[in-house]
């Protein structure tokens, strides 16, 4: 780091997350004046323009890349038109011990006086919960599934390379052409399309205006400063902001500033989850880097400093907090922006370049929570690049995660994308696959597999909420064979999926008709050509993903039932269910048998792994290909974020020996501690899933630092990665830390504030995690050297 970036980094780390009421105030005033005067898309775009035109700007001392979503770093705006915090929510955010957001009492007062009264009953969330049927609400309350879009807009989207070739004025020309081509005689949707196109054009103006205001501010600052060097920098900043995003960037600096304005635009208009991501940043910047070096206007060092400034910008952007506030589903400051490295070019060649190495060095040095980063590893990725990344991983911050770029392409081809679009795609969020710049790939919520088996063992009755949630699959005493159990489990999965999807179709249509994302539509193909919004099927590809959680726990539970009840006859099923309902009270020997003497997923043991495959196939058939509302289809993913803790909390004890309320397994990792034959056995088990049929799977592994010592340690890890990817594994990520250190950090957080660990698809400060999640990570199997 340079002195500048070291200072900016510290300022970013020291900034305290807070809630800014500014966006809510601008939006509320705008709606009061304009609601009913315009079509929905135009109203949304005008509101976005109003924010860009009047929000407080921030230009930090010594910054080279400029722009903040809020009035200052980590000052997080709210989105009351989507979901309006109550005064109580804000007070809890201000006072809770973990992932706290400071809230000024004036903001709470403003909320009570203006914001809440206006949005109550008008926010999208209020409308949504008014429309959702009782069966959905009951299943949701029982913890059968979660719903991403109930308080954050459809996100999980990523920029592609066109941004670096086209400015907003070019997009506006495309929009004008599309509007001119509308056929009002024969196309019944022509008017809707015109409104959408006009809205997109306004969104382009909004972000140009936003950049111009920054240029003006930089010029004012330049005229004021006594420091000649800083004056030159500020004039360069102003020059860049006059150029981009109106026109395509000319150099490395402008390319970064351009992306950053687009990033801010996407996350200012709506609070998409995940935020937004730059995609193949190294590939996009490579040509600017080479041209800058050749022209003598850029050095490796100056490029590195600009990239460091760029990284700090991500770290300044804390996730918007949710309402409901227990934050059980995802208690984190991270907003899941994720940078792809290496991978493949559109023409199929290796995509790694000098900027890849530069970025890896920066990730290693800066240790920032955000942005996340991942290396896309293809067969063509040089060993030296992968080993470079592994050495960064060894330092123990969980960055970067590793993806199988060849599998990522194959997964997308299966979904019907073109080869080139698939190669330009990659991963975002935690592990999710999409075609960058051309796809709306929406996560709709986690799905609780363990709850489905629990319902099957109770004839559809949810003991915790005291309601019939599931299908009436009959008295389990009548399940004469294991296949009967599995059939009941499948019936519950299908029944609850139907409920979820019926609710989700409604939610998708609410976003399509009431909450278009006009700026995101500008930069996502083919929204302009179709005259349709990103949220309404305008993108070239439209996939809706459901994330199944607990494949390890469900496999071990099914395995135990099959073996103990139906093969060994140790206990009849009703008796076992009684013991589970009583949380093994007085039955510790039985629980120990279940834990220690049954076949477990993660040991390369086909008895258990075949049940994993059977469950996966059933899930895939129940989900994949079902139509969504946008001309696309539902798909299956296997990832948890932190939801495995929440899903465990709402489940009774289970046949794998898990106690009531304890976390379920995460991602496609084995149950914590159930894998006893080392990392190769885990990888073999995990690879028996057909990853190509998913939109992403997540595998966590924990290694002791000793295992990865020296070149030999890196070589061994390299072999594990290459072998797993040869077997079509989708993703792997590592914690390189001892359980002992984690225990110390839990006991003494003050001395371990900077300890970053891999959670699930993202890294977080260990001390910010909930205690349940801390314990879960400590319990994960630690692979050691032999």
């Amino acid at each position: 780091m340079t002195a500048r970036t070291e200072r900016l980094r510290l300022a970013s780390l020291d900034a305290i997350p807070s809630i800014s009421g500014e966006r809510a105030a601008i939006t509320t005033a705008f709606y009061k004046a304009q609601m009913g005067r315009h079509s929905t898309p135009v109203l949304r775009a005008m509101n976005f323009y109003a924010i860009c035109d009047s929000k407080t700007l921030w230009m930090g001392d010594a910054e080279l890349i400029v722009g903040e979503r809020g009035p200052a770093p980590k000052a997080v705006p709210t989105y009351p038109e989507l979901t309006c915090h109550s005064a109580e929510d804000l007070r809890i955010l201000d006072s809770r011990p973990k992932t706290q957001y400071k809230v000024n009492p004036a903001v709470i007062a403003e909320y009570e006086r203006e914001i809440i009264p206006f949005w109550r009953g008008r926010s999208l969330r209020d409308q949504m919960f008014g429309e959702l049927p009782q069966e959905w609400l009951d299943a949701y309350a029982a913890g059968c599934f979660t719903e991403f879009m109930e308080q954050r807009a459809p996100g999980h989207t990523v920029a592609d390379g066109k941004l670096y070739r086209k400015g907003m004025l070019d997009f506006k020309a495309d929009i004008a052409k599309a509007e001119a081509a509308l056929d009002f005689e024969r196309d019944p949707e022509a008017l809707d399309k015109r409104e959408q196109l006009r809205a997109m054009s306004i969104a382009c103006d909004a972000v140009i205006r936003f950049a111009e205001r920054h240029a003006e501010l930089a010029e004012v600052e330049a005229s004021r400063t006594q420091d000649g060097a800083r004056r030159k920098e500020l004039l360069k900043v102003a020059d860049a902001c006059r150029r981009v995003p109106a026109r395509a960037p000319r150099d490395f600096h402008e390319a970064l500033q351009y992306y950053w304005f687009c990033h801010l635009a996407v996350i200012t208009e709506l609070n998409g989850w995940d935020a937004f991501s730059p995609g193949h940043l190294d590939q996009h910047l490579g040509p600017f880097y080479e041209a800058g070096l050749a022209a003598g206007t850029l050095t490796r060092e100056s490029a590195r400093e600009l990239l460091e400034c760029f990284f700090i910008k991500f770290n300044n952007h804390t996730a918007p907090p949710k309402v409901g506030v227990t934050a059980a589903e995802s208690g984190t400051y991270t907003d899941f922006a994720n940078i792809n490295l290496a991978g493949l070019l559109r023409d199929g060649r290796d995509g790694s370049n000098e900027v890849t190495r530069l970025l890896l060095d920066i990730i290693d040095e800066m240790h920032l929570l955000q942005p996340s980063s991942n290396l896309q590893v293809s067969r063509k990725t040089p060993d030296a690049v992968l080993k470079h990344a592994l050495r960064v991983i060894r330092n123990g911050y969980g960055f970067p995660s590793l993806f199988n770029a060849d599998a990522v392409v194959e997964e997308q081809l299966r979904q019907g994308k073109t080869l080139e679009d698939a190669r330009e795609g990659g991963c975002s969020g935690c592990v999710e696959v999409g075609a960058f710049g051309k796809e709306a790939y929406i996560l709709t919520g986690y799905f609780n597999l363990m709850k489905m088996l629990e319902l099957a063992l109770h004839d559809g009755f949810d003991v915790r909420t005291g309601k019939y949630i599931g299908a009436r699959t009959g008295d389990p005493a009548a399940f004469g064979t294991f296949d009967d159990v599995f059939a009941a489990f499948e019936a519950q999965v299908r029944h609850v999926l139907d409920i979820k999807i019926r609710g989700n179709q409604l939610i998708e249509r609410l976003y399509a008709t009431r909450m278009p994302h006009t700026f995101l539509s500008v930069i996502t193909d083919d929204c302009i050509a179709k005259g349709k919004d990103y949220n309404a099927g305008g993108a070239r590809y439209n996939n809706t993903f459901i994330q199944a959680v607990g494949i390890g726990s469900i496999t071990d539970s099914l395995s135990a039932l099959k073996e103990l009840v139906y093969e060994r006859g140790d206990a009849p099923l009703p008796r076992l269910i009684e013991m589970l309902d009583a949380d093994f009270s007085g039955q510790e020997p039985l629980r120990q048998r279940l834990l220690n003497k049954t076949h477990k997923y993660g040991n390369d043991d086909d008895y258990a792994d075949d049940l994993m495959r059977r469950t996966f196939r059933m899930l895939f058939e129940a989900i994949d290909g079902r139509p969504n509302t946008k001309g696309g289809a539902y798909r299956l993913e296997m990832l948890p974020t932190t939801c495995h803790v929440y899903f465990g909390e709402v489940c009774l004890a289970s046949a794998d020996g898990r106690g009531e309320g304890q976390p379920v397994s995460e991602g496609i990792s084995p149950v914590q501690g159930a894998d006893r034959h080392g990392p190769t056995a885990v990888l073999k088990s995990a690879s028996k899933m057909d990853h190509i049929k998913t939109g992403g799977t997540l595998l966590n592994m924990k290694f002791t630092p000793a295992l990865l010592e020296g070149d030999g340690g890196i070589d061994n890890l390299h072999s594990l990665v290459r072998a797993y990817f040869k077997l079509d594994g989708h993703h792997m990520q590592f914690n390189v830390v001892t359980a002992e250190l984690l225990r110390q950090a839990k006991a003494d957080p003050a001395s371990h504030r900077d300890l970053i660990v891999r959670v699930a698809g993202y890294s977080d400060y260990f001390c910010d995690l909930s205690e349940a999640l801390q314990d879960e990570i400590i319990r994960r199997t630690e692979h050691t050297a032999f």
Partner: protein, 291 residues
Amino acid sequence: MLTGLVFNVQRFSTHDGPGVRTTVFMKGCPLCCAWCHNPESQSASPELVRLRHLCMSCGRCTEDELDSPVVIDRNEDDVEACPTGALQGVGERIEPLALVTSVLRDRIFFDESGGGVTISGGEPLVQAAFVTEVLRRLRAEGVHTALDTCGFGRWPDLRGAAEHASLVLYDLKLMDPARHKAATGVSNDVILDNLRALAGVHPAIWIRIPVIPGVNDDDANIEAAADFVRSVPGIRQVDLLPYHPTGEAKFARLGLDYALHGTTPPEQGRLDTLAATFRDRGLLTTIGGHA
């Protein structure tokens, strides 16, 4: 039917030859070294152990039994019935094909890393016919094989097994015959003779020397070992394996005294000095067996 008595199959072994390996530990050893990492491997018959730290006192075993260092009057059914796995069998009879099939599950990792399978022990030559058959089948499958031996066995057995081993890991403990006998229970004549003979027929031998403070880490022994290794033609690599007290807990579990109680692992500086003794004689030398 040819079977072998195996007490452990360790996947992802990274210190018993090149690359990622699976190490098969055979049960039974003619030596009884005080520093043995696997004292449960010394006896050539199956036995039962009780891992007290796993025991939940479910009531199947009496308090007296639990206090006893050795397991008596218990059988395979009790092992099966033990809820936590505290009562465990050590040693499983297995046919060569079943063992080969099992270890080949990690073949893709062998392929990626240049690794393979190491047969260790115990002492593999105690079950020479079985070990030779396993090595032969693995080699026929194209897998890199290593034989990890103390060298104390019949020369035809060693020659036969080594013929199917891509690499032989050959232990040298002490050069003085009397000291060797005192430390391991046997003289080293056979071991040294076998090594000379093996070097005449086998192209890839790595010498492995456990460095046990107070037992064999003195200059005299190390220099004698280095001179001897230098004198055997064709040997290029020596691995110094620093003492580690991992065996102590296992000795206690088996009700055996641990003669090296209180011994601490050798310091890095001392290891570097010892390694230099070998390197000065032109031998490629590692500490810990990691390339």
